[in-house]
Symmetry: C2
Subunit: 410 residues, 2 copies
């Protein structure tokens, strides 16, 4: 039924697409389907009892505060806790550098609002995080992309991309969504060097960095840039760093943060005032209460154990079941790995066959801002228990073999 | 210290101003100041124990769900509860018409994102809600305004404003922020008639409607429009209706909702995906748990009792203390009233004198999208206990008398 609103949508909505992932997730609500399509943390590791305790304490002791309007910047003790955590590499950051956001998605939206003019080019990895594209498309962003391999963004291709004059560089340094790949230290240093040379700032999006299953953590790009300029004591502010409680505590509370220079924080705060006033005071106080006193570090170790096992099972199952010509990444942390099918095969086509086999994934195409990746897919290993992962990969392998067979017939 | 971000801010940020209210609130953190400047609910009426119970129940029974990612549309039982509540006037609305937002501020932001092209004119009351202007300025909105009196927007001036071709009409029907004034039934009918005649849709923003201290509730504009077109059974969708849990439960949980036709909901959902993915699952489930079974209706009665007394005290104190030439509105609900000083007096100038007298308010200017209102101010009566209201108004009257005296001297 037509309404008076029908022909009044803003032009920017023409670039709005419902996330392919979300649409596909709807198809996979059939409980018999083993879905590797989501990006969900395992609910088994949610610290439910700690939340019960924290909620009760916060409400009974500070209910007046927790249920009231709060400041746009965020709850100060939480910001101080995050600042301290951020400073662990020896770069001094204070609460003034921290803005609490309603999930990292809001951080991406606010960055778009504050920095992107229609037609601005953003330099991204290819493939890159879909949520960033969804946020920035609405501000009229265009993209210049640099391909990645098993060591992350291929910095040999970075310089020519930088010479197009992008507004900023957007990278996911650790266990990237969608590929699971980590940018090597050598390449991080190269990114800092080239970004500095061309005077282009960086957004470093790091939701998964703490979920490292093996090896030593690599220095964040934000720290490398600061070390280059200040002998390692002050935050230069050339790199805006994003992270979140979604993967280390719980996504349902919608809490994330931005580390940025104070001038950028001020602008983001003004934008956030008009966007949602502030992030839930209650959730911030509860997250602070749950996290403090070292609980969060212990809890992350527990998550790592669960996810490491699941990744191992997925890698083993892939080796066992996949036909020749199928390749995949070996992530050392995070929630995802990335499968590349034989050249010429379409993962979108395969999806239909996979659903028949009762298994689901995300076709890779939509992670490529400038096209490509038709033969790729993202698999999530955090959500499903090990036995289901093995069964799911075996189904997926069957679907691929069926598709290859019918291709040969066709 | 300059960073690489400094000259990269988007053009739209030039229209970004920190809310005058928020800046002034910082000045009034001195605990000796009696502040009528905020828009805060009284914390005494927060149902803290009900929240404790609901949090415990939701976490223990459905923690896996409450702490997980959720759907962008919102928690279905909560949407159904709201749909049922919305249908109380006999207009059928279903969960399909409801989107849960992170506070009403987010609803305003999403409406801007989805409908406003740079240069679009929005028709507003003058004065109007500052938060709407803050949200929409960033999408390049311009304004065409219609003045209001004690019966709300003066519909005699509406037609000429409609003929300028605004994108939509924005009104706050009940106990408006900032004036406390309610649009009369006669004028609501006139708005519906003229909006229909010119084919212009309406946004009806109603955060305070349930907080009515006396008299019968007036039919929402959304219902009047539907009655006009469908004999009162179906929602036409020409009016998008906004409301919130902030004033009837607690603002700190950041929960509000939009009632709109399904096609608009779909677009808002896509915009929200890129903006913050979804509103906190946990908060939605807790709000549902607290509200269900009739608690919310009983609780609203309690809030009304508290606020009614405070409004009465403020009105009595104004009558007692204010010098001649000062006028004010007599709101029948809500959180605010509106004071008009003698012509030529500046409330911004007065603010400095008021802070000396240890009392604060919001100067009215910033509520006027196209200028004016220099001699007006907004007073909040919900937050302060009665004895402080009386003392605060006496201080404010003293500040006004001092200002008038020094004007005469000058």
């Amino acid at each position: 039924m037509p309404t008076l609103w029908d022909h009044r949508f803003a032009q920017r909505t023409h670039r709005m697409k419902s996330s392919a992932i979300r649409e596909l997730l709807k198809l996979t609500e059939d409980p018999e389907i083993i879905s590797f399509a989501g990006g969900l943390p395992a609910p088994e590791v949610f610290p439910v009892e700690e939340f019960v305790e924290a909620c009760t304490k916060v409400l009974r002791e500070k209910g007046d505060w927790a249920l009231q309007y709060g400041s746009t910047e965020g709850y100060t003790p939480l910001r101080e806790m995050i600042a301290q955590h951020t400073s662990r590499y020896g770069i001094e950051v204070t609460a003034e550098n921290i803005l609490i956001t309603s999930g990292s998605q809001q951080a991406l939206d606010l960055l778009g609002k504050v920095f992107i003019n229609p037609g601005d080019h953003i330099l991204t990895e290819s493939p890159t995080y879909l949520g960033a594209l969804q946020a920035w498309n609405l501000y009229g962003a265009e993209y210049v992309t640099v391909p990645s391999d098993d060591d992350g963004i291929i910095t040999d291709h970075l310089e020519s991309a930088l010479r197009t004059g992008p507004k900023f560089i957007y990278v996911l340094p650790n266990f990237q969504n969608p590929t699971g790949v980590t940018i090597s230290l050598e390449r991080r240093l190269k990114i800092v060097e080239l970004a500095d040379h061309y005077g282009v700032p960086i957004v470093e999006d790091d939701p998964y960095g703490q979920l490292r299953f093996e090896g030593e953590p690599l220095t964040p790009i934000e720290v490398l840039d600061s070390q280059k300029h200040h002998n390692g004591h002050c935050y230069t502010g050339n790199v805006i760093y994003l992270s979140t409680f979604s993967k280390i505590l719980a996504p349902g509370i919608r809490l994330a943060w931005v580390v940025a220079p104070p001038e950028v924080i001020r602008k983001l705060v003004m934008a956030k005032q008009g966007t949602d006033l502030h992030t839930s005071t209650f959730n911030q106080m509860v997250a602070y209460e749950v996290s403090k006193g070292g609980f969060l570090d212990r809890h992350v170790q527990k998550i790592i154990q669960v996810y490491r096992e699941r990744r191992n099972v997925m890698l083993e199952s892939l080796s066992e079941h996949m036909p020749e010509g199928v390749r995949w990444t070996h992530p050392r942390g995070g929630l995802f790995l990335w499968v590349t099918l034989p050249e010429g095969m379409s993962s979108l086509e395969l999806f239909k066959e996979a659903v028949k086999q009762k298994v689901a994934f995300v076709p890779g195409e939509s992670f490529f801002p400038c096209g490509g990746g038709e033969n790729t897919m993202r698999l999530n290993f955090s959500m499903m228990p090990p036995e289901k992962i093995n069964e799911g990969i075996s189904r997926l392998a069957r679907a691929i073999k069926n598709a290859l067979a019918s291709e040969r017939r066709g």
